[in-house]
């Protein structure tokens, strides 16, 4: 609290009346701000979240065009140029033991991470939301059975599922996809179901139903828009976990197989060579950490912007 000791004397000449016609006074100024507009306004004010968003876009762009910026490829070997240290004139991130350009390998590896991120997003959006909404909407016996199934799926540790999938199929992008696809959607399904159960009891829902809205309309027009923001917040936290997970599997040798690259596999290679060629560890590690940190910070920002309870 600021206290001011200054004394101000108010005289009538300091004020002048504002001319307003009665019609004008009735007008509501400004376009109404919807939920998403409001959230966007608040998100923009959060500088950390905006910065994190920009970093994600930058990494996305580099993953797409990065390998095209150099004359080399991520798998092109040349034993004449083994272990070149990073330099601005030659190999920006150096080369590995086969003379492959690390710059290209890092960004090709980032593609894998971002593919996993997109996959998890898709699973959460489609399967998780549909499953949770249906389970919550129908309730009763349907809900009971659907929840038991989820409970069993949740009980199976994803680590074990992934390792088993990797063992049976060839380790690679397909087995990774299956492992994440099998279990990735359960947490969002549970969350959505809880919200739908709550929304179902509210008056606007009853009103719409009494007016004769059918199931499809009720779910798509009333339930999903109201739970969507929760999904987005969860996503920001599941994406780094999934990216992390792929890197972990590749690190222990069960993920992406050489000569294909993924950040985890590159970090594993780098860790073996770090004593003499630390750059081989540092570049992929830095990119991976940047991705996870950015998603988390953006997630924090989105939570503050989207969750009504966080409003001051």
């Amino acid at each position: 609290m600021e206290t001011s000791n200054r004394q101000i004397t108010f005289t009538p000449d300091l004020f002048e009346p504002v001319e307003r016609s009665p019609e004008e006074a009735e007008k509501i100024r400004g376009a109404p701000v919807g939920f998403w507009g409001d959230a966007w306004r608040r998100l923009k004010r959060n500088r950390i979240a905006v910065a994190a968003g920009c970093v994600i876009i930058l990494i996305l762009a580099l993953a797409v065009v990065g390998p095209l910026l150099t004359p080399y490829t991520s798998i092109g070997q040349d034993l004449d140029r083994q272990y070149k240290t990073p330099s601005l004139s030659g190999f920006w991130f150096g080369t590995d033991e086969f003379g492959r350009s690390m710059f290209d390998r890092v960004w090709v590896g980032t593609r894998v991470s971002l593919y996993i991120a997109a996959l998890v997003t898709a699973m959460d959006m489609c399967v998780g939301m549909a499953y949770g909404a249906l389970s919550g909407y129908y309730g009763g016996k349907v809900d009971n059975i659907m929840q038991r199934i989820v409970e069993i799926l949740v009980g199976i540790p994803i680590l074990i599922v992934a390792i088993l999938t990797m063992l049976i199929l060839e380790p690679g992008i397909l087995s990774l996809t299956i492992a994440i696809g099998l279990t990735g959607w359960t947490s969002s399904a549970r969350l959505i179901r809880g919200q739908v159960l709550r929304l179902k009891e509210q008056e606007f829902f009853l009103a719409s139903r009494s007016l004769g809205a059918n199931t499809f309309r009720l779910i798509t027009k009333h339930l999903i828009p109201n739970v969507f923001y929760i999904l987005i917040i969860t996503l920001m936290y599941t994406v780094p976990t999934a990216v992390f997970f792929e890197a972990f599997l590749s690190f222990i040798g069960l993920g992406i197989q050489p000569p294909a690259a993924s950040l985890g596999a590159l970090i594993n290679d780098g860790a073996h060579q770090m004593r003499f060629y630390p750059y081989m560890l540092i570049f992929p590690a830095a990119v991976l950490v940047t991705i996870t940190i950015s998603f988390r910070l953006l997630g924090d920002g989105l939570r503050d912007a989207l969750d009504p309870r966080m409003r001051q």
Binding site: R148, I156, L197, I252, G270, I293
Partner: protein, 309 residues
Amino acid sequence: MLKYILKRLVNAFLVLFIITTVTWFLMQLLPGSPIQNAEKLTAEQEAQVGEQYNLDKPLPVQYALYMTGLVRGDLGNSYLYGGTPVTSIILDRLPVSMFLGTQAIVVGLVVGLFLGIVGALKQNSIWDSGAAFLAVLGVSVPDFVLAPLAQYWLGLKLGIFPIAFFESWWHSVLPSLVLSTVVAAVIATFTRTEMLEVLGQDYVTLAKAKGLSKLAVVLKHVLRNSMIPLVTIMLPLTAALVTGVLIVETVFSIPGLGEQFVRSIFEKDFPIIMGTTILFSVFFVASYLLQDILYGLIDPRIRVAGNRE
């Protein structure tokens, strides 16, 4: 409540049964034979080995044999290490992992609580931002990045700690530190949020109004009430520790369960993979169960049983 616990227990056993069964049958689908160099063996030798490990019997019989053994606590014998019982291999290696895990939890708890409390009491100050930054860093830097870096800087460059193997307590410092970062970060974030919520409650205002010292308010009213929900993060912590143990033990060459598991995957030592999978699953399932039960017991505001939300 009792009915609820019973129901959850039955459910937990069902989950474990399904995991075991699925894992067992998936193992059979694995490419390659568990007998190494099978082409070099005569048919007679192969039959002998097959008989020794029950490999000659039809699959359902093998499955039934495994499951009956499991009920009696027998996890079968390792294919590789001269037929050593899996149970004894696990019992050999489990204490090492448990030791690392416990040490990591203790360190993580202390550091995390400290960061969380500082963050909440000095909200929006530089201390708060610093603690929040450390917490984000802690969850975002994966163990497999941190472990080699710790080996490089603290082990090689500064030469303070041994970089691998497990011969003395001194060897356990680096791996425990690496493991504890996630724990500390999760606990710090959690404690801060919980404490801020409690600090805004009426009973805290009342305690302050009564004239209690700041320390007494924090210790007696705020901290106690914000610690209750700590049980809710048990599961993520268990998951973090199990995956952490796999990485950290592999990187630091520590003879624990995680290192054995990763190795067995490459060696195709099915009985060990099975046994460890079951053990890890028990950890996960038990922590879920404990989490739900404790949550209902500790905080009377939450009623788990019969709460059909």
